[in-house]
């Protein structure tokens, strides 16, 4: 397996997996505890509209994706906060329109559209060095914001009413968080593709929230798990010649099942101890 690392594309893939995993663990933890998985899926799909637009205008697709996903994030975040009913309907509509908009613009763009599928299913084996730099920068932004605003983001995730009474700017911070989700999603499209973004965002965070009891530790553990899943997934995809994004997600899914089983076993053991100590 080590000989795979002699290829530059494999080294880039590994590095991309690690960089994306950091954002994934941190932001995924917020997504899971805030229960905004659906909203995050919406952002991922709406971002496709940005890719279509960028192709149509002849711009770099990743910039289109970033711009569009930030817009979609703000729109959906606003819908989630301010409309009292049917936020999920609105999110679903933006989700679909963004996607359709992208596809139609691509139809209207003449010429050869080679790597469009790569945004849908990911192409971690074709990540250029420029994208790695962008990923590192986005990681930096995410870590900086989350470090500076840790106590506020924890408070709005746990109990936003109490945070509001404490004069925390809840709405602004919520929109900021949703924008960070947007940036994370764009990074991840490269690695696993927008269809499977949600799986890699939520699975590591869902596992770690079961095992540790502080948000900070949950983020670190989730990031570690995401790295583990990406590296093993890449290895599996290399060894068996399978699609890399799907391999990573399958490995993560198996990890989730193992964690569930481990959790059950631990609960049973704890229950047995109680019975023993009482008997």
């Amino acid at each position: 397996m080590i000989e795979a690392l002699q290829y530059a594309f494999m080294r880039n893939a590994l590095l991309a997996g690690i960089l994306v995993s950091i954002a994934c663990g941190v932001i995924g933890t917020y997504i899971v505890v805030n229960r905004i998985v659906f909203l995050s899926g919406g952002i991922a799909h709406a971002a496709y509209g940005g890719i279509g637009l960028a192709y149509f205008l002849g711009l770099p697709p990743v910039w289109g994706a970033i711009g569009f996903s930030l817009l979609a994030s703000l729109g959906m975040g606003w819908a989630q906060r301010k409309t009292r009913q049917r936020a999920d309907t609105l999110i679903g509509v933006i989700w679909a329109i963004g996607m359709a908009f992208g596809i139609i613009l691509l139809d209207l763009t003449p010429g050869y559209k080679a790597d469009l599928m790569s945004y849908l299913f990911g192409s971690i084996l074709a990540v250029p060095t420029g994208d790695l730099i962008l990923m590192a920068v986005l990681d930096g932004i995410i870590l900086l914001v989350v470090t500076l605003l840790y106590k506020e983001l924890l408070a709005i995730s746990f109990d936003e009413t109490f945070a509001a009474v404490q004069n925390v700017p809840v709405d602004a911070l919520y929109l900021l968080l949703v924008c960070l989700i947007g940036l994370t999603v764009v990074m991840m499209m490269r690695v696993v593709g927008l269809i499977m973004v949600i799986a890699l965002l939520t699975i590591p965070a869902a596992i770690s929230a079961q095992w540790v009891h502080s948000l900070r530790r949950a983020m670190v553990l989730a990031a570690g798990l995401a790295v583990l899943f990406s590296v093993i997934g890449l290895g599996v995809s290399y060894a068996l010649n399978l699609t890399s994004g799907a391999s990573i997600i399958m490995v993560a899914g198996v990890g989730y099942l193992v964690s569930l089983a481990g959790m059950r076993w631990r609960t049973k053991k704890a229950a047995a101890r109680v019975i023993l100590s009482e008997g």
């Binding site: 933890t29 505890v33 229960r35 500076l148 605003l149 106590k151 506020e152 924890l154 408070a155 995730s157 746990f158 109990d159 009413t161 109490f162 945070a163 509001a164 009474v165 404490q166 004069n167 925390v168 700017p169 770690s208 929230a209 079961q210 540790v212 009891h213 502080s214 948000l215 530790r217 949950a218």
Partner: protein, 259 residues
């Protein structure tokens, strides 16, 4: 002049142009222990939201310690009704109580030793200090309620505002919580919203009844008028074991109509 903890004048409030509260007037002195009772849908939660600055009034004025609610609420320790929570939320007792210090610190600033001292005092007050490293998801309903009270105390509040503090705990825990509040009342003003009509009267100093309008006389008795207007169902209440002594001598209700 001593500032009133809460001063509400001619308050109308509600949602989508439909008023839930009509012409509510209320003055709460510092040191008071006021319970606001009333039927579901009577506007208890709406009143609380207005006092906390979470809902703009349609008409009227609300002041906390002589200030606009958005400024005055920094002296308020708020205890929410919801005791249920996401059991998997990765957070410990200490971290929850620490949220009471958010208003003191402000954005981008870390909690310091002074915050830690305030949180320790608050957790000791509610007897949750020994469980400070326990995950919130592993606590009982009563313990969780204590943590929320500690979080409100960590604010170092002048006014403690509680929304149905005993809604989802068993009767024994309920008594503990009321005993705790009575002890705390020696240093902070307390306002609580409840429908434990029978129990609260033994602990609080004053009672008001809210059903769109507020029936309040600054006294500790639950008057027949409150129940008549507030609940429109006196028999139901008495059947729930309302102690006799909470009733004042009967006088003509027409004389004591709320302003």
């Amino acid at each position: 002049m001593v500032e009133k903890a809460i001063a509400i004048e001619g308050l109308w409030a509600g949602y989508d142009h439909e008023a839930v509260l009509e012409n509510v007037n209320l003055t709460v002195e510092e040191g008071d222990f006021l319970a606001i009772i009333g039927p579901n849908g009577g506007g208890k939660t709406t009143l609380l939201k207005v006092i906390l600055g979470l809902l703009e009034p349609m008409r009227g004025r609300v002041r906390l310690f002589g200030q606009d609610v958005r400024r005055g609420r920094r002296w308020v320790g708020y205890v929410p009704q919801r005791v249920e929570m996401d059991q998997d939320f990765p957070i410990r007792v200490w971290d929850v109580a620490m949220m009471g210090r958010l208003g003191q610190r402000g954005l981008f600033r870390r909690y310091d030793a002074q915050d830690a001292r305030a949180v320790e005092r608050a957790l000791r007050d509610v007897e949750m200090w020994d469980l400070r490293d326990r995950p919130m998801g592993e606590l009982s309903g009563g313990q969780r309620q204590r943590v929320y009270i500690a979080r409100a105390l960590a604010v170092e509040p002048r006014l403690l505002l509680l929304d149905e503090p005993t809604a989802s705990v068993d009767p024994q825990v309920r008594t503990h919580i009321y005993e705790l509040l009575r002890a705390l009342n020696e240093r902070v003003t307390i306002v609580l919203i409840s429908h434990d009509v029978g129990v609260i009267s033994a602990y609080v100093k004053t009672v008001g009844c809210l059903n769109r309008r507020l029936f309040y006389h600054g006294g500790g008795e639950i008057t027949e008028e409150m129940i008549e207007h507030g609940y429109q169902c006196p028999i139901d209440l008495i059947a729930h074991g309302l102690p006799h002594r909470v009733f004042a001598e009967h006088t003509d209700p027409a004389e004591r109509r709320a302003p």
